[in-house]
């Protein structure tokens, strides 16, 4: 019996994951946009004694230089969202096009490209990032452009490999044969025929990657290769205050919790979105 797959039709109701994740994400965007209007202090000025615990005046305490951690975290939203979202969007788009086209073209082109990407993927994330920063030279140290480029470079091969897997699965389908015999170009086939089928996978990939981007950027800041102090950036904030982990843990844990919340909300939202958009080529009978 070839039952029609009625259950795959998207429901009118948004999935709960999308609604919860989306709400939190919108909250982050609002904070990033409006923070100068309501921030109680300046993010870079000393306003109290260093390492004070949570209080009504300073909900997240104060940092090593006596700056208000809550204000710094709120301002940090701007730079973290900007960096992680732009870099991940670029990486996912680039990786998707390269991976889908490579899987579709196949042959030696695919072989060479994928072996090269595997070589890149086999290098641990941080070491690769440090290599790129070192290669760029000290004049670019801490620039947002370089950080974006680093994230793109690190993520693109990973996204490409996953997209390629989708394309390879589709390559024998007759609808590609139809497009090919119509005389469509590789670019047109990638964009019109392959990409829609990869959208679910890519959305999930985007959610995971965008969630990890702040960690990567934070790690680099932690090691001193990321955003320059005193720019408020979450990784940098955690790094600066790590000495107080035992005495006033809130100044470290609060920014960490905010970072975690961003990651979770991104994952929930993209997962829900992929589910909502529903249809993929890989159907369950």
């Amino acid at each position: 019996m070839t039952g029609r797959v009625g259950s795959r039709v998207p429901t009118r109701r948004l999935p709960t994951t999308l609604r919860v994740g989306g709400t939190i994400l919108i909250g982050f965007f609002l904070v990033a946009l409006t923070v100068p209007l309501w921030a109680p202090y300046s993010p870079v000025e000393t306003v109290a004694l260093p390492f004070k615990g949570a209080s009504l005046d300073h909900p997240f305490g104060t940092d090593v230089l006596g700056r208000d951690v809550f204000t710094r975290v709120a301002y940090g939203t701007r730079i973290d969202l900007l960096l992680s979202l732009t870099s991940t969007v670029i990486a996912v788009l680039l990786g998707a096009v390269i991976g889908l086209a490579s899987g579709y073209i196949g042959g030696w082109f695919d072989n060479v490209l994928m072996r090269a990407f595997e070589a890149i993927v086999s290098i641990p994330l941080l070491i690769l990032a440090l290599l790129v920063i070192a290669a760029a030279g000290p004049q670019y140290s801490g620039s947002l452009l370089l950080l974006t480029a680093v994230v793109v470079l690190v993520y693109t091969p990973r996204v490409a490999r996953i997209s390629r897997a989708v394309a390879v699965d589709l390559v024998t389908r007759d609808f590609l044969t139809v497009a090919r015999s119509r005389g469509e170009s590789t670019w047109s086939i990638t964009r019109r025929e392959l990409a829609p089928n990869a959208s679910g996978v890519l959305l999930v990939e985007f959610g995971v990657r965008a969630g990890y981007a702040p960690i990567l950027i934070g790690s680099l800041a932690f090691l001193g290769f990321g955003v320059r102090a005193p720019t408020p950036e979450w990784g940098l904030i955690i790094s600066e205050n790590r000495a107080a982990l035992a005495t006033t843990p809130v100044v470290v844990l609060a920014p960490a919790a905010v970072l975690a919340m961003l990651i979770i909300s991104l994952n929930l939202a993209t997962d829900g979105l992929a589910r909502y958009l529903g249809r993929t080529a890989v159907r369950t009978p």
Binding site: M1, T2, G3, R4, V5, G6, S7, R8, V9, T11, R173, D174, F175, T177, V178, R180, S181, R182, G183, E184, R192, E193, P196, N197, S199, R279, T280, A281, R283
Partner: protein, 686 residues
């Protein structure tokens, strides 16, 4: 003691099964009741989605994960299997009731030797004694299903066997524990006609030898006529008619049964006009009354309001129709004579497509480093032509190279030798090297619309893309043209906004045809376009193709394994065997004596709705010989009329019987006429 007094083996009583859907539960099986006596063979027929498989699986106490049994009992030897625990069910399944599934390719574990798979069933049920006794029994099973009972075949893996052999293995597995009831779910659907004839013969023999009862689920009425004592017809989950086979085909009472029988194309009587079943089964719009009312020509007001349950029309014959007395129109079953409505082909000086001695091969992977890179020819010296507005059919079993030829014409595969001309111009070679104009004129429609439609594109995109690509249509004009094309393939404009998975199989194939039409082709390559569809849907699509041919003046290269369909649609036919043509000619010449021995074999293996028909079964498996042992005549190793060494050593000559009809065989035509009579009980058309 009459048959009716024998205690029933299975009694299905008021069975209703629901499937979970978004809006709650939907009925898939509605109040189905029937019984099956020991040793009896009951066929369940109906179109896909009618609930026949769901009903059949309930005999094993199985229901699919998202379904529930809403009501009813399934009593196997008096016990209701639907209430049994998993443990008790395991004791019955395989041991007393066994299943033969549809697709032997997925029914066998790919990583397990077939001997072990057969033995596993015995081991689980603790029969067959010691290890060595079980091994003996496995060999007996293999022998029973006519596989060579050697240790060698028992040690093979499923992928080393042909489709027919695999189905024999699943039969052996089902027989391993001597069950009393076999549930067969379309066991021959994916097989070639000749292989199907072999399996049907095997099943018929096993049934008489082992006295097993069959519940045979199929959509193929010809198969039912061959193997079943009684037939139940299902529609939208309801059993609408049940009668002994002879009675059902001779005297169908329900309008649906009549339509179904009339929709089956026949090799023997091509002049019958299919009385089309109107419309399609629409699950969302079932009336509260008779489920068939929306498609019934006899429906009255009362039919829409009140549902009729099965009532007795004659002692053995039950039917669920208020008006069975009036609707019994014998002519419907017998078929009406009709004028040939095939549009006459244009007689042109130059054929549209001229294929000259092409040879095609797929890339060959060397088995060892030192082996010579030798291509395995899929098509060998094939020549034919296609005139404008003509339908040329290529028939043959799977692996005969039919699709390869279509791919070569479409430019997806470059022939190793030979030329393909289109309107006098050489177009041999890859599609990328062809001019746009040519790519537009040759369009291909594929077998499986599931795979040929992008699941993430709406119908408007699928059909609209060629319009944009070839004609630069955009926006409103493109939208209008899409609607026109949908109208051409008899689909509502609202389909434009749908995704393929919201369409039924027949609707999807129509969309695929609309996409090909969008390019305004002069040639359409139809690669088994009907084989994934139900009979009544097939009849509809076939009618559509005919109409399009006269409206748009399209020539078809029609590839099919279904000889009956070919007979009703083609002007000329080429019969392919293992990549070589063995007979070419106008359809009526090819379908009448003298035949090429292979054509004869194919025609004699097609089961028809005729219970007196005896299928001609040839016990050679096409897969047993490899290309290494190729003889001069490719058919020599299977040919029942093989002359001798000459067939192996000398290329058979083309013997021209009359203008345009040629047979490639060593046997003189007069002798062929004698030795290949018209298949059993069929009148010659001439």
């Amino acid at each position: 003691m009459s048959l009716a007094e024998v205690e029933a083996l299975v009694e299905v009583d008021g069975l209703s099964v629901d499937f979970a859907s978004r809006e709650g539960f939907a009925s898939v099986v509605r109040d189905v009741s029937f019984s099956l006596r020991p040793g009896e063979s009951l066929g369940l027929v109906g179109e896909s989605g009618c609930g026949k498989t769901t009903t059949a699986l309930s005999l094993l106490g199985y229901r699919r994960p998202n379904s529930r049994i809403a009501a009813g009992q399934v009593r196997f030897r008096g016990r209701d299997v639907l209430t049994l625990s998993a443990r008790e069910l395991r004791r019955i399944r395989g041991r007393q009731v066994a299943l033969i599934p549809q697709n032997p390719a997925t029914a066998l574990t790919p990583g397990m030797r077939i001997g072990n798979q057969i033995e596993e069933a015995m081991r689980v049920h603790g029969i067959g004694g010691s290890r060595s006794e079980r091994a003996d029994r496995v060999h007996r099973m293999l022998e029973q299903v006519l596989l060579p009972p050697s240790a060698r075949i028992a040690r093979k893996y499923p992928h080393q066997l042909s489709g027919g052999q695999r189905q024999r293995v699943t039969i052996a597995m089902a027989l391993a524990c001597d069950p009393q009831l076999l549930v067969l779910d379309e066991p021959t659907t994916g097989l070639d006609v000749t292989t199907q004839a072999q399996i049907l013969e095997l099943l018929a023999r096993l049934r008489t030898e082992l006295r097993m009862a069959f519940l045979y689920v199929t959509h193929d009425l010809g198969v039912v006529a061959q193997i079943c004592d009684r037939v139940g017809v299902m529609y939208a989950g309801q059993l609408v008619e049940e009668a002994p086979t002879r009675e059902l085909f001779g005297n169908p009472r329900h309008p649906y049964t009549q339509g179904l029988i009339a929709a089956v194309p026949s090799v023997a009587a091509p002049q019958r006009d299919p009385v089309l079943l109107r419309g399609l089964l629409q699950r969302e719009k079932l009336p509260q009354g008779c489920l068939f009312a929306p498609r019934c020509d006899f429906a009255l007001t009362e039919c829409w309001i009140e549902r009729q349950s099965l009532t007795t029309a004659s002692p053995d014959h039950r039917v669920a129709c208020w008006r069975w007395r009036e609707v019994s129109v014998p002519e419907v079953a017998a078929g009406r004579e009709r004028l040939d409505r095939r549009p006459a082909p244009v007689v042109a000086e130059m054929p549209l497509i001229d294929v000259r001695e092409i040879e095609c091969a797929y890339e060959y992977i060397r088995p060892t480093r030192t082996a010579r890179r030798q291509p395995l020819l899929a098509v060998r010296e094939v020549s034919f032509y296609l005139n404008p507005r003509e339908t040329f059919a290529l028939v043959g079993e799977s692996g005969s190279g039919k699709s390869t030829i279509a791919r070569a014409i479409d430019g997806l595969l470059t022939p190793l030798a030979g030329r393909i001309l289109c309107g006098g111009r050489d177009i041999t070679g890859d599609v990328r090297t062809r001019p746009q104009q040519l790519r537009r004129e040759i369009q291909m429609v594929f077998q499986d619309p599931d795979s040929s439609l992008n699941p993430r594109q709406r119908v408007s995109q699928i059909v609209g893309r060629p319009l944009e690509f070839y004609f630069g249509l955009k926006g409103e004009s493109r939208r209008r043209r899409v609607e026109q094309l949908l109208d051409d393939v008899r689909l509502e404009p609202l389909f434009a906004g749908r995704y393929p998975d919201e369409l039924s199989g027949g609707e999807r194939q129509r969309v695929a045809i609309a996409r090909a039409l969008a390019a305004q082709p002069t040639v359409m390559l139809c690669d088994e376009v009907l084989s994934a569809l139900d009979v009544s849907v097939q009849a509809n699509v076939l009618e559509l193709l005919r109409a399009l041919q006269s409206e748009h003046e399209i020539a078809y290269l029609f590839i099919s394994h279904d000889l009956a369909v070919v007979r009703s649609v083609a002007h000329r036919v080429g019969v392919l065997y293992r990549g070589e043509l063995c007979e070419v000619g106008p359809v009526e010449d090819v379908f009448s004596s003298p035949f090429h021995p292979y054509t004869h074999m194919l025609l004699s293996a097609v089961p028809e709705i005729d219970i007196t028909q005896v299928l001609l079964v040839v016990h050679t498996d096409p897969a047993t010989s490899t290309s290494a042992s190729r003889s001069a005549c490719p058919f020599a190793h299977r040919c029942p009329l093989k002359v001798g060494r000459v067939c192996d050593d000398v290329e058979p000559p083309w013997q021209v019987r009359r203008e345009g009809h040629a047979i490639r065989c060593h046997i003189p035509l007069e002798e062929l006429t004698e030795r290949t009579p018209q298949p059993s009980g069929r009148q010659t058309v001439e």
